[in-house]
């Protein structure tokens, strides 16, 4: 506590002198416990890393500290990021700060970060989003959850769950706050081989400044909003559907053009995700063997493979073990072609779905000089897509326990968020009122083309004003 105090005092002195380190100097932030910090333990919500302190800081943590923000603590999460409700933490579930007749879960996996922001403990928080881990808790807790394009913010020091899907995510109360925090972290990092290189960032800048300009704030005359029919799933309750419609009406009222679109491979996203993410996770989690750091079993079992089996069985929770098994199977030589390679193909199709509907060309595709922006004038293309963020409000503890025996049902929660993760495109969850049946917050999700994070934040700002 005294260390925080000293940091706060130092920040105050800088402000008094009129020499703040940045516009955020002295602001309190919370950091999800899968970002490495050398000054606090990094547990990933797991017994495996209960006593682990990293020898280095994650790049995004360093960027926050350099700007003068004060990291007031690390936040609870589903173990290694695996979960949608934040019920799978070794340290216990994260409770949603919203008042309700019965305790509700904060959502996962970045539940601790969402709860810290929603309860006003901090200005903003770092989370991570692999299949919706920032957007779901944001929706459940009634705050803004932003998953920038894959590669925008450095993952160096973010403990990997599924590298090809993991992104740094931001949780704040307003879109404006998300925007300022994002401007701090949106940087190339040489230590992250998947960081968006500077040339690509420049290319995106050129492409986005060239396209149709958005009008002054509050008017969306030139903006085309896509409504994908595949997101109208049967699990979506009437109450959330109504809020989605309300969002559409609101944007229409600001002169946006509403375009019904189709993203035909959306129904395959969830199964694709639940092959790829566990496969990468099983691989990434091989390193937790008790040899160099982390939990090591005290059991000296001679008949079983010494050390590994006991350490891993005791150190990992049930959901992590389940996904390791799933992922391990998907990578065995007998399953690889039918599961893993098949899932990679589906992933490509999901990305193509988005490329087909966005007016802005995917900057990752080598552009044909003769057809610079082929989708630009097409009547059927859109700038932003609007969907619900989740198929429910925050589940209560008892509801969740009832369904705990049915992992597949839990995986369904990610149905709205997973396609954007597979495509690597940016996604933003905006708090949009409350559900009429239970009075709990509901979020709407905005999606845009890869690299077009700016458009997302602009439209998001308009939407949150309702």
């Amino acid at each position: 506590m005294s260390a925080l105090h000293a940091e706060a005092q130092a920040a105050q002195q800088r402000l008094d002198r009129g020499q703040p380190l940045s516009a955020f100097d002295g602001l309190g932030i919370a950091v999800k416990d899968n970002f490495c910090t050398s000054f606090l333990p990094t547990t990933c919500g797991s017994k495996m890393l209960e006593d682990f302190t990293s020898p280095y800081n994650a790049t995004v943590v360093d960027l926050c500290l350099k700007a003068g923000t004060i990291c007031v603590g690390k936040t609870n999460m589903d173990e290694f990021g695996m979960g949608s409700a934040n019920a799978f933490s070794y340290f216990g579930p994260t409770i949603n700060p919203h008042k309700s007749d019965t305790p509700r879960l904060a959502g996962g996996s970045s539940g601790g970060s969402a709860a810290a922001v929603a309860s006003g403990m901090v200005f903003g928080a770092l989370g991570s989003d692999t299949g919706g881990s920032v957007r779901l808790p944001a929706s459940y807790c009634g705050i803004v959850g932003f998953k920038p394009s894959y590669g925008r913010c450095s993952r160096y020091g973010l403990v990997a769950y599924a590298n090809s899907l993991d992104t740094v995510g931001l949780l704040t109360r307003t879109v404006e706050d998300a925007k300022v925090l994002y401007s701090l972290l949106d940087q190339y990092d040489i230590n992250d081989p998947t960081s968006m290189p500077s040339e690509l960032r420049n290319k995106v800048n050129v492409m986005t400044t060239r396209r149709r300009k958005m009008e002054a704030r509050g008017d969306l005359t030139n903006v085309r909003i896509g409504i994908p029919k595949e997101y109208h799933v049967k699990e979506l309750p009437e109450s959330i559907l109504r809020l989605w419609k309300k969002g559409i009406e609101h944007l229409k009222g600001l002169n946006a053009t509403i375009v019904p679109i189709s993203l035909p491979h959306t129904p395959y996203s969830l199964s694709c995700y639940y092959v790829l993410a566990p496969a990468e996770a099983a691989s990434n989690l091989q390193r937790y063997d008790g040899v160099r750091y982390g939990y090591r079993s005290k059991t000296q079992s001679e008949e079983r493979s010494p050390l590994y089996e006991d350490t891993r069985m005791e150190g990992f929770g049930e959901e992590v073990l389940r996904r390791i098994l799933l992922g391990t199977y998907a990578l065995t030589s007998e399953a690889f072609d039918n599961y893993y390679l098949q899932a990679l193909k589906v992933r490509r199709l999901v990305r193509q779905d988005f490329d087909n509907v966005f007016a802005l060309q995917n900057p990752l595709i080598q552009s044909d000089p003769n057809h610079d922006t082929p989708n630009d004038d097409n009547e059927n293309t859109v700038d932003v897509i609007l969907t619900p963020s989740a198929i429910s409000t925050a589940p209560s503890m008892s509801e969740f326990s009832k369904l705990a025996g049915d992992p597949v049902h839990n995986y369904l929660n990610d149905v709205m968020t997973v396609p954007a993760s597979l495509a690597g495109i940016p996604a933003l969850s905006i708090p949009f009122g409350t559900d009429e049946t239970d009075g709990l917050p509901v979020g709407l999700q905005l999606l845009s083309q890869y690299g077009d994070d700016e458009m997302l934040l602009s439209v998001g700002r308009v939407l949150q004003d309702v």
Binding site: C36, L49, Y156, N191, P193, E280, R287, S333
Partner: protein, 482 residues
Amino acid sequence: MLKATWEAVVGLEVHAQLKTRSKLFSEEATPTSFNAPVNSRVSVIDAAFPGVQPSLNKACVDLAVKTALALKCKVHQKSCFDRKHYFYPDLPQGYQITQQYEPIATGGKIIVDTLDGLDHDLEVKIHQIQLEQDTGKSSRDLVPGHTLVDLNRAGTGLIEIVTKPDMRSSKEAGLVVKKLQSILRAVGSCDANMEEGSMRCDVNVSVRRFGEPFGVRCELKNLNSIRSLTDGIDAEVARQIELLESGQPVKQETRGFDVVRNKTFSLRSKETAPDYRYMPEPDLPPLLLSQDYIQTAADTLPELPDKTRDRLLNEYQLDRQAATVLLSHSDMIHYFDQVMASTTKDAKVVANWITHDLFGILSVRSIPLQRNPVSPTQLGSLCNVVGEKVSGKVAKSLLQRMVDGDSRTADEIIQSDGLALDLDEEAVRQVCQKIMQREPAKVAQSQKNQGVKKWFVGQVMRETRGKADARMVNRVVEGMLT
């Protein structure tokens, strides 16, 4: 060795440690080093701490590409990295990053011929070359009941060179490995020292009756010298033939070689072989190489052993033995070229001084060739004065002085020590005259016996104590005794 109707079929998987300053995926963090204190060359990346990511070291790519080009492989403009999973204490990530599906190079060949010591020409095709990480080292029971782990080597860059099963005997396999060593050393990509482990060979061995299809193969592992490689192959071939001749099948498995008992033994069978669960490495984008980059690497490739040998034999007209001795010490080729540049004598004389006299003295003094104290200019000056200013005998003593630390040129030493061949023909004639008067009987014999003439030459040389030119003494003696 082989029974007449059987033929061995041998393929190689060679792991060569890349001679770079730092490791394959932790360029900034950790220098590579042989024999550094245990666990003193380990970064958070090498020890697979949570949250780290690999960054490809370009220097490793450079060496892999050069090696591939030297082996006439096709270098691919796009290659990819994959993870190969297994649990072992010296494998911190729980997987090795390698190139299973799209390697950096494919094709290529190693050619061994009569000049390499084979009685026929052999072309061994290369299947592929892949870039990958080395593991750490585990020592079991150094402390009883414990496995100790040293991660200094973990993450060091390797290239794995996989050949086709194109060898038919242990001798061929041994010579192919030798040839590969000389190529790797010439390129500078690897020390290729099997004993120190900078080069490691796994061998696939099967046998078949002539003309029949390939048999079931076994993989021999942990062979740490060319000798144990050839012995291991011979032992395995004998074992397989014995099995087949007694009607038993060969089972596909991985085997080790017990040098003491000269027998191979089973390490693990195919049934217990691990499923490595290969997966594309999600943190590393494909490695893209431009045609320009590959072309530049090809253009700057150093001279390769076959070309050097050709130059020694044809351009310099060295005999095969001298050429072979020079070639077996790749560092000495450059030395030889430098000496040639500073002398007027022909290559045979220079090669002779290097391979006989210099190597001989160094060997007696136990000085490794890498620490040869005689500069090319010194040796060049020595070659220049032999038979001109000093006798061979004096020259040898000069060389010894140079090895012992005298850094002057031959001319400088001769000048200051008065060692020159300064006796003219008249002076030699007088000495010869004196000896003939002393030995009339020998003079009489010399008419019939050529050997006696040589005796006279020896006597003159001794009396003039190396200050007379031997050829001139020969000429004078010949003239006076006729």
